[in-house]
């Protein structure tokens, strides 16, 4: 087989056991390559967020090896965590914006964290705000924005530092279908410009429509990994059973 482009995420036989004894990931392996767009799906409690937390080094693997952005973060020291996270953009279902700062400041904040010179911050922030279509709302505070707009701000913040990897944990979980679709389109745009994108989602319609690689996790184990996949039939079936219980 011809060698693909470089790996940006590589998990080898990773297990995560929480202090409570809950085994969130079991012997999990996956490779994600630069420039890919990957959906991670699975029933709630299957271990999707744990996978994201592993990449961000919010949890450590109990066993196995985690490599992100070419760096082995399996045993990363506390003081190196910040540097590691600066190379990953991240958005969550609950947006996680600083409530006491306006749109501009929320995005600029990510630049200040990496000590971007003051004179460049204004330009960079304006550029990403234009990209997510929020130039006019620069001065607005999070509570004055709709959910979709808040998620755009979070997206702008995630990419303003020109990160090679963007991770989204259920980014459309709090949004209506139309807004969800817009956010997905933005993610696809960002991906087209070269950023690797990993999206955890429950949204079957979106997954089926976008025809991307789909990784399905079930009970902490890799269930399926399909190029141009669908929200898997079998998973749908298992989810129906799950819901009926």
């Amino acid at each position: 087989m011809e060698e693909k482009s470089a790996k940006i995420v590589s998990l080898s036989n990773v297990s995560v056991t929480y202090p409570t004894g809950s085994k969130a990931l079991k012997n999990f392996s996956i490779d994600i390559y630069k420039g890919e767009f990957v959906f991670v799906v699975g029933a709630s409690g299957s271990g999707k967020s744990t996978f994201i937390k592993l990449l961000l080094r919010e949890v450590e693997p109990s066993s196995g090896k985690v490599v992100v952005n070419g760096k082995n973060i399996t045993n990363l020291k506390h003081k190196d965590v910040a540097t590691h996270r600066r190379r990953i953009g991240v958005v969550f279902q609950d947006f996680r914006l600083l409530k006491d700062r306006n749109v501009f400041e929320n995005v600029a904040f990510a630049q200040r964290v990496i000590s971007m010179p003051h004179r460049l911050i204004g330009r960079n922030v304006s550029k990403v705000l234009a990209l997510v279509g929020l130039e006019e709302k620069k001065k607005a505070f999070p509570k004055e924005l709709s959910g979709g707009e808040q998620q755009r701000v979070a997206l702008a913040r995630a990419i303003v530092n020109q990160v090679p990897l963007l991770i989204a944990d259920e980014p459309t979980g709090n949004l209506d279908p139309k807004t969800s679709m817009e956010i997905m389109q933005l993610l696809e745009n960002i991906n087209r410009q070269g950023t690797t994108v990993i999206v955890v989602t429950h949204d079957r319609e979106i997954v089926d429509m976008m025809q991307k690689r789909v990784v399905t996790i079930k009970d902490g184990e890799m269930f399926s990994d399909v190029e141009q996949g669908q929200y898997t039939e079998s998973l749908a079936a298992s989810e129906t059973r799950f819901n009926m219980e």
Partner: protein, 303 residues
């Protein structure tokens, strides 16, 4: 390079935070002000009492009389021996004439008509003496015993009552100040802990987001440190100002209420009080602010 940017960002953001969280800022400043004001009050009280006691102590002396017919050379030897004693601070010679003059002055104040009856004849001839001042009141009794055993010494006069009172008083002040400091520390710790708990709940989300974006511990702590130091500084300056304004007034009031006292005692000057209070308050205030803010942040850095 990171340092400079982060430094200015920290100062700016710290001040913005102070303004944004007005209630928290005000509560914290009030807490520190209250604690430091109490500290200043206690300190002025205790230091003044100690000062008064010291000045009274300084005036309490042992009088040493000589055997009749003791030669001047022998008296000089006694003086030498006394001065060598490490427990003794000062030895003063009182001639018979001086003793007579002092006596006349005392009598004159109360019964002036008696003075004339003595005429010019000094009844206190031969009662020249040494006035011996000891360094530490509690050592007075042992010093008296040592002097009594010396050759050429007829009599040693000392006020046992005065000494006993002063020594007890000193001990009471020691205990009272320790108790006050313990109470103060307990109250301060409690108040400051509460303030920090409030601070933590206000900032939990903020710190989590900073960490998520990849802020270093240094970057996250910066604004909090600026905040803590500012709060501590303001919290220290207010009680200093209050003490500055009230100190002399209170002393004047005490003097006017208890006029008799002013002949006997004097108080520490505002200046000498402030030599200790100003650096102590600023040090404590900034220290409390700094530690408080660092504790607040540290709890959330491990994400």
């Amino acid at each position: 390079m990171e340092g400079i940017h982060t430094f200015f960002y920290s100062i700016k953001q710290g001040i913005i935070n102070l303004k944004r969280n007005k209630m928290f800022t005000i509560t914290s400043i009030c807490t520190i002000t209250a604690c430091l004001f109490l500290f200043g009050l206690c300190y002025s009280l205790v230091s003044n009492i100690q000062y008064i006691v010291k000045s009274i102590e300084g005036n309490v002396a042992i009088t040493v009389f000589f055997d009749e017919g003791t030669k001047d050379s022998q008296k000089a030897e006694i003086a030498l021996e006394l001065k060598e004693n490490k427990k003794i601070k000062k030895v003063e010679y009182i001639s018979a004439e001086q003793a007579w003059e002092n006596f006349k002055e005392d009598i004159f104040e109360t019964q002036p008509e008696l003075v004339d009856t003595f005429e010019e004849d000094n009844p206190l001839a031969d009662s020249d003496s040494y006035l011996v001042y000891v360094k530490d009141m509690s050592e007075q009794n042992s010093v008296v015993k040592t002097i009594e055993k010396m050759d050429g010494v007829r009599k040693v006069k000392s006020s046992k009552e005065a000494v006993k009172t002063l020594v007890t008083f000193n001990r009471v002040i020691g205990i009272v100040s320790v108790v006050l400091i313990i109470i103060l520390l307990t109250v301060s710790t409690f108040l400051i802990q509460n303030t920090i708990i409030v601070g933590i709940s206000v900032r939990r989300e903020e710190i989590r987001i900073m960490r998520m974006i990849g802020a270093t511990d240094f970057f996250v702590q910066g604004p909090f440190v600026v905040e803590g130091i500012t709060i501590g500084l303001i919290g220290a300056l207010i009680p200093i100002l209050v003490l500055l304004i009230t100190y002399n007034r209170v002393l004047n009031w005490i003097s006017s209420q208890f006029g008799v006292l002013t002949n006997w005692i004097s108080f520490l000057s505002l200046q000498s009080e402030f030599m200790v209070i100003v650096p102590a308050c600023i040090g404590l205030g900034v220290g409390i602010g700094l530690v408080g803010s660092l504790v607040t942040v540290k709890k959330h850095l491990n994400v």
